[in-house]
């Protein structure tokens, strides 16, 4: 039996459910855009107070005990550099975190604007192939190796 994108089969009451789920999906995608956009705006507003907020965070205990940076070391400093619009410094401190934060804020602004214009946000294909997943793991490990080599 043919299966719809949502996993529901067609025909009878299930057809009704399938179309409702499709409508729900469109609503969801718009709400996701608005939500992501709101988060991005809040983060941009917090950027003005980033330095003060960062002071409340504890130093990396992993690094002080083990002697090497943890995989997330430098995220705070990279974010602070980004808050000062110092992209180069941020990338030098923690490249992966910098790209993720930029994607979070930049993507949020784009998604929010699209949602406001009534254009739903399309989610990417989440079910990656094993090779693609391995690639992601390699990126994370390589970023950690970079942090260790630079003694971030």
């Amino acid at each position: 039996m043919a299966k719809t994108k949502t996993g529901f089969t067609g025909g009878g009451p299930r057809f009704f459910l399938g179309s409702r789920v499709a409508a729900d999906s469109a609503t969801s995608q718009r709400q996701l855009g608005l939500l992501w956009g709101t988060v991005a705006v809040v983060l941009l507003m917090l950027a003005t107070r980033a330095e003060r907020l960062a002071q409340t965070l504890p130093a990396c205990t992993f690094k002080s005990l083990v002697g090497i940076p943890c995989p997330t070391c430098g995220v705070t400093r990279a974010t602070l550099a980004l808050a000062d619009l110092d992209f180069g410094v941020a990338l030098l401190i923690n490249p992966l975190a910098t790209l993720l934060v930029m994607a979070l804020v930049g993507g949020g602004l784009v998604a929010g604007m699209s949602a406001l214009r009534g254009r739903p946000l399309r989610e990417p294909r989440w079910n990656l192939r094993p090779a693609e997943r391995l690639g992601l793991v390699i990126v994370i490990v390589a970023n950690w190796a970079y942090l260790v080599s630079r003694g971030i």
Binding site: M1, K3, T4, K5, T6, G7, F8, T9, G11, P13, R14, L17, V21, D24, S25, T27, S28, Q31, L32, L35, W36, T38, V39, V42, L43, T56, P58, C60, T61, F62, K63, S64, L65, V66, C70, P71, T72, C73, L104, E123, W126, N127, L128, P130, R133, L136, V137
Partner: protein, 238 residues
Amino acid sequence: MSEPIGTTGSLPPEPPAVRDEHQGNPWERRGELGASQGFLEALKLFVVSPSEAFAQTRFQGDYGSPLLFAIVLGCVGVLVAKVWETLFGISVLSAFPPEVREQLPFVVGGSTFGLVLTLVLAPIYILVGLFIWSALLHLCLVLVGGLKQSTAGFEGTFRVVSYASVAQLGSLVPVFGSLITFVWTIVLGVIGITSLHKSSQGQAIAALLIPLALCCLCVVFFMMAIGAGLLAAFGAQG
């Protein structure tokens, strides 16, 4: 494990199964039940029978319901945590040696104005926290291949994270509240992910532990250092 709807061979699924599963937990059906009753029933269901609660939870269609649910619970959690801090924080801190006390300035809350400000800003911080934590968890689910059978997408993860904030009720327990909340959140997360994303328990546990290992490694070590410091300080006093 039951097979997902629509993947069976020749026979169509029974209508009751289609109707009952993921058609909305009491909070998502608050239109029929009323907001307060829907909230309380959902709360009870997530506490008493989280598997059943997540089995009823819709896959997608509305970010607002889980978000509102989490904001209400989060505000309650903040309020309760502040009350415990006010009642116990100062007295507990006063029992610590001065050198330890200096290291824990964040344990004691501020003024009434600070509390009001925290409560006013809490929904914004909860929204940002939920979104970022959901995004991290979703990436980890991608990494462990936990979304192979999922039709819920990012919203499924957002729903799991939001409804798992029921674990904030753990903060009602003084002193050990944070630990209870932490463990309870993990348990609810595993149940939610297996239900909404059809992931295996192993994938769900791995996805939940990867960000904790990456992001909270520092926090874990920090807490261990504090514990070791406390032991050393009290040991020196004794």
